[in-house]
């Protein structure tokens, strides 16, 4: 039973990690929380659903197309709700409000377009699985963990090796210095939103496939969980987001299974608070401290 709970936790955790990395990337460049990220998940899931259901595409082409569309949506949200704040030099906490607004708007729009009802979600793989010791693992779960791992590693390499990645890290260190060094800060920020949203879209489609449904409000809770994972791992770190996601998934699963289903969320947030008290910037977040 322990093994089964751990496996369950890892599957959930890899989805959380994908969501977390979107928060984390945005935070690293702008130090804001993008509350509309959950809505990106939902959009990704619905775009995918339309392509698979109405257009009859395969799952993988649908993932790619949906990711592209949501990347555009993410870029638009950045331009419409966050860039103006930057221009006006508004305090960062304002981004919380404008992105909450964006998220409410997107959710309401989705309900108007696709209806409020819960829709079934197709699975890319036939049902079934295999037994691993005392645990059962489905093929879909394997695929989810695989896709998540590939994306996380790819993103890590992108941030580490690519030109844009270098720009992202430079901005994370010091935005105005990066601008003075000739980095196209605005373009990089839009790229960050697009990439984060695209990965969020994939996470949305995987969530849809894993739980087999889509609904306008489906992004909210996973969004919060992803955010918790990002904080847990340490904002601004791709590895941290991965670690935070997996840890959150496992704590949730084991805490629920071994201690109490009722207090599952309390356990999760209790662990979060403890970790923050010991490491105020998350597990892998570096404490910037204060320069005097």
């Amino acid at each position: 039973m322990l093994l089964q709970q751990a496996v369950n936790g890892l599957v959930l955790g890899s989805v959380y990690a994908l969501i977390a990395v979107g928060f984390s990337l945005v935070f690293s460049v702008l130090e804001i929380i993008n509350f509309s990220h959950g809505a990106m998940l939902m959009l990704g899931a619905y775009f995918g659903l339309v392509m698979i259901g109405a257009l009859g595409w395969g799952f993988l082409p649908a993932v790619a197309a949906s990711a592209l569309l949501v990347a555009a949506a993410g870029a638009i949200v950045e331009r419409a709700t966050i860039a103006p704040l930057r221009r006006r030099e508004a305090p960062r906490v304002l981004a919380l409000i404008s992105t909450i607004g964006a998220s409410i708007t997107l959710e309401a729009a989705a309900q108007l377009v696709w209806g409020a009802q819960v829709r079934g979600y197709p699975s890319p793989l036939p049902p079934g699985g295999f037994t691993l010791g005392a645990a059962r693992v489905t093929y879909l779960e394997c695929a989810i963990m695989g896709i998540a791992a590939v994306l996380m590693i790819g993103l890590g390499l992108f941030v580490r090796l690519s030109r844009t990645g270098r720009a992202i890290r430079a901005i994370a260190q010091n935005l105005s210095a990066a601008r003075l060094m000739g980095i196209d800060v605005e373009r990089t920020i839009v790229t960050v939103f697009a990439v984060g949203s695209a990965i969020g879209a994939v996470a949305g489609m995987l969530t849809g496939a894993y739980f087999s449904f889509a609904q306008p409000s489906m992004g909210f809770l996973p969004g919060i969980k992803g955010f918790v994972a990002a904080v847990l791992g340490g904002m601004g770190s791709v590895v941290g987001a991965g670690l935070g996601g997996l840890l959150l998934g496992v704590v949730e699963s084991l805490g629920g299974g071994l201690l109490s289903f009722e207090y599952k969320d309390a356990i999760v947030f209790g662990v979060l608070i403890l970790i923050l008290i010991v490491r105020p910037s998350g597990i892998l977040g570096y404490d910037t401290g204060e320069k005097v």
């Binding site: 935070f27 409000i97 404008s98 409410i104 997107l106 959710e107 969320d265 923050l276 998350g282 005097v292």
Partner: protein, 587 residues
């Protein structure tokens, strides 16, 4: 004057509302406005004043509501006891929680408080023995007293109105008193506030308690109003809503909190007309509010603050103290950051009444030395003594209270505070009356506030800023901000003043003014420790100079000796010090 009229008018209109609007539904919306106004006013104390992001206000709201509900339904307490109990319980829990959690800052603090709110929600849902779990508590009695049933809407309205007025008064008292000054200082720059001798932890904990207490009060009102509560009323969504109200209204602003709450309570109701497009439009309006009014509808800097009347017993400027010898003694100091040794083998002592210069090339460890003396940098080895008192190991604010004050290399004036506020907050550690006395504006506290004002005005004159006393620090030119920092430091009435590159960016005539200012400070009996690159200034004011290079002292002596010291010249590659010394000779 006009502000007073406006407030009075608002109260009259508010009191007349039940007669003006016969509609129970509008009264209901007004009551909810009142309840959220109290919640948002609470959040304003911790977030608006003290600058700490809390997304956990919903937790204390819930604690207050359940406290009131359980006390009335199980023990049968009357309404008149439950709000105070709910307020006290929520405040106590708030302070208890804040102790560990306030270690965490910024967005991480937001997350930790959010997490706490989630935990409270789960407990409300699951602790069935106490809270009846998801079933919620029904049959909460509406308030009845003196044979009057306050359960009807128009009467309950007055209870809520009273609570709002009380909260507004409380909020304004904080804002206008020394406690508020200290909170604003923490918001603007926690480290600098601590170095003024403000016990930042205690203030943040108290602010958290106040915020939680008001939320508890709002919760008790909500419970008695709805007469039925369930955990669904106190979710994380609620906490986020309250944050939204405050930001949309205007942080740090009492009026903003009230307006923000009103707007976000009324808006969804007004938008009922547009039916299914309601949330769509609501969301767009939120985006618009954030983008077009980033400082909130009312703005961040709120109603101008009333200043205390000048006091009779006024001290003027820093008080001259008897010179102590030696005043500062640094022995065998070592500071390391991980593997990097920033300071090593540093020993020196400073006589009372001296101006003691510390120079050295960039990276020599000058600012680190200041940080070690003020308690900002960790001391690895060695001792720092001030007039016989061992400072090593004391918290920064305690060192400040012992008589150490400083300015900063990168200006850390409190950007969002007015010049006079900035200086007054410097007096904080010397106040004899406690925060509570100042909150309640007792006669003694009022006298003290008046004295502080007089003294602050004197200090502003002393540094030549009396004409810009009402300006926000962020609007002052660079040189003014530096002088404001000096005035703020002097307000703590230090025995030892640490000036970190006060002449940076100044032209020659400004440097002359600075030299004169430093001499006047010394003449008042304040010992000065000066880190400076402008050799003109150093050579002109310093009695003795210590030269640091790569974290170690390489020379010490009077200006003339230092100028001719070959080791020093080697360290400076012979250029800077010679030419500057030449300039000083001409002067």
């Amino acid at each position: 004057m006009t502000a007073g009229l406006l407030v009075a008018g608002a109260i009259v209109v508010a009191a007349a509302c039940p007669f003006l609007v016969g509609d129970q539904y509008i009264l209901h919306v007004l009551i909810m406005w009142g309840i959220y106004a109290v919640l948002t006013l609470g959040l304003n104390v911790i977030n608006g004043f003290a600058g700490q992001l809390s997304i956990g206000q919903g937790a204390f709201y819930g604690i207050g509501a359940y406290c009131a509900a359980i006390l009335t339904t199980t023990i049968g307490w009357s309404f008149w006891l439950t709000p105070p109990a709910a307020t006290a319980l929520a405040a106590a829990v708030g302070m208890l929680v804040s102790l560990p959690v306030l270690r965490v800052r910024g967005i991480y603090l937001g997350m930790a408080t959010f997490g706490f709110a989630e935990i409270v929600h789960v407990v409300l849902r699951s602790w069935e023995g106490l809270t009846k779990g998801v079933l919620g508590i029904t049959g909460i009695l509406p308030p009845i007293a003196f044979g009057i049933d306050f359960g009807t809407q128009d009467r309950f309205y007055y209870l809520v109105l009273a609570a709002v007025l009380l909260s507004v008064l409380f909020s304004q008292r904080i804002y206008q008193s020394s406690v508020g000054h200290a909170l604003l200082a923490i918001r603007e720059d926690e480290l600098a506030a601590g170095l003024l001798g403000i016990n930042t932890t205690a203030h943040k904990v108290a602010a958290f308690g106040a915020a939680a207490g008001l939320a508890g009060l709002a919760g008790s009102l909500f419970a008695h109003y709805l007469t039925y509560i369930s955990p669904e009323n106190f979710t994380s969504v609620e906490s986020i809503l309250i944050v939204t109200m405050l930001i949309v209204g205007g942080r740090g602003n009492t009026l903003g909190a009230v307006v923000g709450a009103g707007l976000l309570v009324a808006l969804p109701e007004l938008l009922r007309v547009v039916n299914v497009y309601r949330l769509l439009i609501y969301g767009l309006l939120l985006v618009g509010a954030a983008v077009f009014r980033p400082d909130g509808l009312v703005g961040r800097v709120g109603l101008a603050r009333r200043r205390a009347r000048p006091g009779a017993a006024a001290e003027s400027g820093p008080v001259a103290t008897r010179p102590e010898n030696p005043l500062l003694r640094v022995e065998d100091l070592q500071v390391r950051f991980g593997g990097l040794v920033a300071l090593d083998d540093v020993s020196f002592s400073v006589e009372g009444g001296e101006v003691y210069g510390i120079i050295g090339p960039n990276g020599a460890g000058k600012t680190t030395l200041f940080n070690a003396i003020t308690g900002v940098a960790p001391v690895g080895r060695g001792r720092i003594q001030l007039g016989g008192l061992d400072l090593t190991g004391l918290a920064p604010y305690r060192r400040a209270r012992a008589g150490v004050a400083r300015t900063f290399q990168n200006i850390r004036a409190f950007a969002g505070m007015r010049a006079w506020e900035t200086v007054e907050v410097g007096f904080h550690a010397r106040l004899r009356r406690g925060g509570l006395a100042h909150l309640c504006a007792t006669r003694a506290a009022r006298a003290e506030a008046g004295a502080v004002r007089t003294a602050a005005d004197a200090l502003l004159r002393f540094v030549g800023l009396e004409k810009v006393a009402d300006q926000l620090a962020r609007n002052l030119p660079y040189g003014h901000q530096r002088r404001l920092e000096i005035a703020r430091a002097l307000a703590t009435s230090p025995r030892l003043l640490l000036l970190d590159e006060p002449a940076a960016g100044m032209n020659e005539s400004e440097c002359e003014e600075l030299i004169a200012l430093i001499r006047r400070i010394r003449d008042r009996g304040v010992t000065v420790l000066l880190v400076e690159h402008h050799m003109q200034v150093v050579m002109a004011v310093c009695d003795r100079i210590l030269v640091l290079n790569f974290g170690r002292p390489i020379a010490e002596g009077p200006p003339d000796a230092i100028r001719d010291d070959p080791t020093v010249n080697a360290a400076y590659l012979g250029t800077e010090i010679q030419s500057a010394a030449g300039a000083a000779d001409h002067a």
